[in-house]
């Protein structure tokens, strides 16, 4: 029993380390902040699933209640398993929510981070005002020409 217990604990520790390493590696590459990265979402789910499967497949922890090997369903009652399942569920919800609000309000924070700097022109206000003024003069000249044409036609 003692051997089994220590074996299980060791297995859990290994799987936790592996999943953390996986996540760290992905975060380092910046992939996890990009919602369009399907691979990132997959990897996160896989790490949790790996943990869960190892937990289920490993020899059962010491149970005071019965000596018979407990069924898979009863294993899911263990608090660790429940916590992992909840985590998986939350991740799924997050993923769905992200795919829904692609350009929405919730994406405001994310948008600021992801948004490339806008294509911009460094024009001073003085130049902008001059351009507006010149254009106004030009359009007034054009309008004067059109008016003169109309007046010429009407006058005939």
């Amino acid at each position: 029993m003692r051997v089994e217990f220590s074996f299980t604990v060791a297995l859990l520790q290994v799987s936790t380390v592996v999943s953390v390493l996986l996540r760290r590696r992905i975060k380092g590459q910046g992939m996890c902040w990009d919602t369009s990265s399907f691979l990132c979402r997959r990897m996160k789910s896989w790490s949790v699933l790996l943990l869960l499967s190892l937990l289920l497949l490993s020899p059962p922890l010491a149970r005071p209640s019965s000596s018979a090997p407990p069924s898979l369903l009863s294993l899911l009652d263990s608090p660790l398993a429940l916590h992992l399942l909840r985590l998986l569920d939350r991740r799924q919800e997050e993923v769905e929510a992200r795919s829904r609000d692609d350009g929405g309000e919730e994406g405001a924070f994310r948008g600021r981070r992801d948004e490339p700097p806008p294509i911009s022109i460094d024009l001073t206000f003085h130049l902008l005002r001059r351009m507006m003024h010149m254009d106004k003069m030009e359009s007034q000249r054009e309008q004067a020409l059109v008016n003169r044409r109309i007046m010429d036609e009407v006058g005939k």
Binding site: P118, I121, L123, F125, V154
Partner: protein
């Protein structure tokens, strides 16, 4: 007593019904058009309607009239922009045609819903109905939908980069009527305007890229309790984030969210309230909760150099002076 025969009655009915279909419609049409224009004969009118204003487009250009503008690159132009501005109650419709660029070589033509100046956008991200990435229409990404664009306010921009010497395109600008304009850039440093926000939860800005003296002549907000006259000195009192108010902003960029509020009003006003804003950009902003119909009328005139308010010694570095 004279009785009207049934045949005459029927004829009268037919005439009255058909009177709406004939000459009366022509009269309606004439009334709608310009006074002088209606004096032209039908042939002359047809000639005038075919007339589209055309001129070449420059690398850095400002357009305020409808027409067709053709850009032809004689040499590579890597950073070009066209600013387009219309009347406050108009929106701009852009269309690209005869496009001859090489998208794979890095050429692009992007239409933007608003103006971008020194990295700042007008209207700001919070004030614009579309998300930031939706405001760009890239011709190279989808040539079908990427060749037309309609702005949400009276300003729009086109950015383009063309490497090839004989490449070019034609930009057609049309203006469409907008009955309740929100987010307006003023074309001139003097004028007047009335902003109306009918039961919409939107924040609207009227931006004047000049130092101006603004006079609010009328203000009608939802939560007015009475029409009492307020003495001049109490006019500019702080509104503690209440639902509907008008604020005046001053700053040195076009993004209203980066500008400093210099005053706000949250009660109705029947007198005159005025303020001098000696900033590069002066903005009147109407904040509406959507519960009421809000209306603000104001006049503005350019401040001459000697009329600019003096900057106080304790003022913030980037902030312009206000009086």
């Amino acid at each position: 007593m004279m009785t009207v025969p049934p045949r005459a009655q029927l004829l009268l009915l037919l005439v009255s019904l058909s009177s709406r279909m004939g000459l009366s419609r022509y009269i309606e049409d004439s009334d709608a058009s310009d006074g002088l224009y209606s004096l032209l004969s039908l042939e002359q009118k047809r000639e005038a309607e075919d007339f589209i204003f055309r001129r070449p487009l420059r690398c850095l250009d400002m357009l305020s009239t409808e027409g067709s503008f053709t850009f032809g690159a004689s040499r590579p132009q890597l950073a070009c922009a066209t600013f387009i501005i219309a009347e406050p109650n108009e929106v701009i419709s852009l269309e690209l045609s005869d496009v001859n660029i090489d998208c794979s070589a890095g050429d692009f033509i992007k239409m933007f819903d608003g103006w971008v100046l020194k990295g700042e956008k007008f209207p700001s991200n919070q004030d614009h109905p579309l998300a930031s990435h939706q405001r760009y229409t890239d011709f190279c990404s989808s040539s079908a939908a990427g060749s037309t664009s309609r702005s949400s306010q009276n300003v729009a921009m086109v950015f383009f980069r063309i490497h090839g010497a004989n490449s070019g395109f034609t930009l057609t600008v049309k203006k469409l009527h907008n009955p309740f304009p929100c987010n307006i850039m003023s074309q001139s440093p003097e004028g007047s305007f009335t902003m109306v926000m009918p039961h919409q939860r939107r924040n609207c800005s009227f931006s004047i890229i000049y130092p101006v003296e603004i006079r609010l002549t009328e203000l009608s907000l939802g939560q007015a309790k009475s029409n009492e006259l307020i003495p001049q000195k109490k006019v500019w009192s702080a509104c503690s984030g209440s639902g509907d108010y008008v604020e005046l902003l001053g700053g040195n960029g076009v993004d209203t969210s980066h500008m400093f509020p210099v005053a706000d009003l949250c009660f109705s006003l029947s007198g005159l309230a005025q303020m001098k804003i000696g900033c590069d950009n002066s903005v009147v902003r109407l904040v509406s909760s959507g519960n009421y119909i809000n209306r603000v009328s104001f006049q503005y005139r350019l401040l001459e150099r000697d009329e600019l308010p003096k900057a106080s010694e304790n003022s913030l570095d980037n902030f312009c002076s206000v009086e």
